[in-house]
């Protein structure tokens, strides 16, 4: 497969403190690559190094097969990005911002063309308004429009759904999927919304304290057949006591706090569990599958197990 980003032994130290530690990963053409890690894990520093905002202390970055140091302008001309918050010129209109950043990327558009591009993110009616009048969600949408305005091949989005309402999140998700599938655009998306990432990313990288924990395809890393199930009943303590006397005791998490009932279970076992709960006269309020990627992410970052998969 054609590599779009190839990072090798990338490191960054600030005043002797290692923020990114010999990080290596690859992003392939057409990937929606999820970049995960807790706050302070080194995600933003890595993204800033990919965009030449920060100089690496060591290592190499190749984008589109070319060394980032040597072909900076050529590479960045084909990259769009939203870095952390989509901060734009508040005293300018949305259209002016879009036009300005398009020109900086070497592209020129008519107002009509720009309005169509704003329409892609649902801002067609507000293009003439000053950005200072925009809500956080609208700024986020405009930031994404700015990252796409020059038709880049690689789009780097840092927390792209921050501040968006559920409809906005769904719109951005659909936009990413559409651009990835129809136009073979490559995305590197950092997010803490693991459920979102699970829905859009085909490959993920999890880092912790600047080090890679794991990299691979979502399908490889997360077994969709295995679930973590949270049960809410009218009396959770009574339900736990009853479950402990049954076969389900092995599946019941002992460490669950505040009376929560959490079971490690396979998808096929759910009907059997429901039947048994009814037979035990347990008044069930809800059965909620906890997101599996989130569960996986938490278990990895808690254990701090630095495992390498065979994908790199």
């Amino acid at each position: 497969m054609h590599k779009i980003i190839e990072v090798k032994d990338l490191s960054k130290q600030f005043s002797g403190i290692t923020v990114v530690d010999r990080l290596s990963f690859s992003v392939f053409k057409g990937d929606v690559f999820g970049f995960l890690g807790q706050n302070g894990a080194g995600k933003s520093t890595t993204i800033r190094m990919l965009l030449t905002l920060i100089r690496p202390t060591g290592g190499q970055i190749k984008i589109f097969g070319k060394d980032l140091n040597q072909s900076r302008n050529e590479i960045l001309g084909k990259v769009g990005a939203v870095i952390e918050k989509p901060d734009l010129y508040k005293y300018l209109s949305g259209l002016d911002n879009l036009s300005l950043f398009a020109r900086l990327s070497g592209k020129s558009f008519t107002r009509r063309e720009l309005a169509i591009k704003l329409g892609q993110v649902g801002l067609e009616d507000r293009g003439g308004d000053k950005v200072r009048t925009y809500s956080q969600g609208m700024k986020q949408r405009l930031g994404i429009a700015v990252s796409l305005v020059h038709d880049p091949d690689l789009i780097i989005l840092d927390e792209p759904t921050n501040g968006l309402d559920p409809q906005g999140i769904a719109d951005i998700r659909n936009l990413i999927q559409m651009l990835s599938m129809d136009q073979q655009k490559t995305f590197l998306v950092s997010s803490h919304l693991l459920g979102e990432m699970e829905q859009i990313a085909n490959r993920i990288l999890i880092i912790d304290k600047g080090k890679k924990i794991i990299e691979g395809s979502v399908r490889e890393l997360v077994d969709p057949a295995k679930l973590v199930l949270e049960i809410e009943t009218t009396d959770n303590i009574d339900c736990r006591t009853k479950l402990e006397t049954t076969f389900w005791n092995e599946h019941l998490r002992k460490s669950a706090y505040s009376g929560k009932l959490i079971l490690d279970i396979s998808r096929d076992e759910i009907p059997m569990l429901v039947r048994q709960l009814v037979e035990m006269d347990v008044q069930v309020i809800s059965l909620k599958p906890v997101n599996s990627l989130e569960e996986y992410f938490l278990s990895l970052t808690k254990e701090k197990a630095h495992v390498e998969t065979g994908t790199n």
């Binding site: 920060i54 302008n73 050529e74 960045l76 901060d87 300005l100 020109r103």
Partner: protein, 291 residues
């Protein structure tokens, strides 16, 4: 590069704070003109008292040229603040808004970016001085008329012929532009280190104030450095109003008494601009953008 300068100018002239300086200059010059229009003759009579006792002074002493000289002398002390207001915001303002990271991640070299930003602040500085010239010189000439210009400097009285004055103003404003560009380059340089514009503006003004104080202190320890301080040369424009005289003590039209000193001052200011801009490019190219 021109495209980048255009973008920067677009941003500067869409920012409300840019117009504070233009409004401030118009207001101050307007006030001075109003004051002289109402009470100028009394002021001139008082100033000319000793001269009138010995000489018969004819013509319109309070004219547009004299007023422009007074305004220029007064305002050029305060204009640096107005210049720093925009130049000190060029990088730090972008860092504060969060747009710097987006700007630097575009396919434009940092050197070009910084030079275009400086050129845009230079255009703003020149626009401000042209604005000042229009108000201070041309409007004053319109209100107070034009005549020979009489300047009193401690014990010397210089009378410059009307026909010999306008070019001196053009040269003086050109020199003032160089002085203000030096201030702009200093504020611009300082803005690289900050993430809000208050710091560079305050630091720039503090440096100017400290250097000006050093200039006024006649102490041997400071005398050695004075020739190298840019503030020592910022009022060099006045040199264009010192006229050379011949052996019969007659003025030589079109002459400047000490042109080499004026040119030397201009050279020192230009050197400061080059140093500040060069340092800005060097440091910005090596800076991690963390804002």
């Amino acid at each position: 590069m021109w495209k980048l300068v255009q973008i920067e100018l677009f941003k500067i002239f869409h920012k409300p704070r840019t117009y504070i300086a233009f409004a401030a200059i118009a207001a101050i010059v307007g006030l001075i003109q109003l004051g002289f229009y109402v009470d100028g003759e009394t002021y001139i009579k008082f100033g000319m008292q000793t001269l009138s006792d010995s000489f018969n002074v004819e013509g319109k002493i309070l004219n547009g040229y004299l007023l422009a000289y007074i305004i220029l002398q007064t305002l050029l002390i305060h204009v640096p603040l107005l210049i720093a207001l925009v130049a000190g915001d060029m990088i730090s303002g972008e860092a504060n808004m969060g747009t710097l990271r987006l700007l630097v991640s575009k396919p434009v070299s940092r050197t070009k970016l910084i030079i275009s930003k400086f050129l845009a602040s230079a255009v703003y500085t020149l626009a401000l001085l042209i604005w000042m010239a229009v108000w201070a010189l041309f409007l004053s000439m319109l209100i107070f008329g034009a005549d020979d210009m009489i300047i009193m400097k401690s014990e010397v009285v210089t009378q410059i012929l009307q026909s010999d004055t306008l070019w001196r103003y053009v040269a003086a404003f050109g020199f003032a532009a160089l002085a203000m560009l030096t201030v702009a380059s200093l504020a611009f340089f300082l803005s690289i280190f900050a993430e809000n514009s208050i710091g560079p503006i305050m630091a720039c003004m503090s440096i100017i104030i400290v250097f000006t104080i050093l200039n006024t202190l006649n102490l041997p320890i400071f005398n050695a450095v004075k020739p190298y301080l840019f503030t020592s040369h910022m009022l060099g424009w006045k040199g264009f109003f010192d006229v050379q005289v011949n052996s019969n003590n007659e003025q030589i039209v079109g002459s400047v008494e000490n042109l080499p000193a004026v040119l030397r001052s201009a050279g020192i200011l230009a050197a400061h601009i080059v140093i500040f801009l060069g340092a800005s490019v060097y440091i910005f190219n090596r800076k991690d953008i963390l804002s």
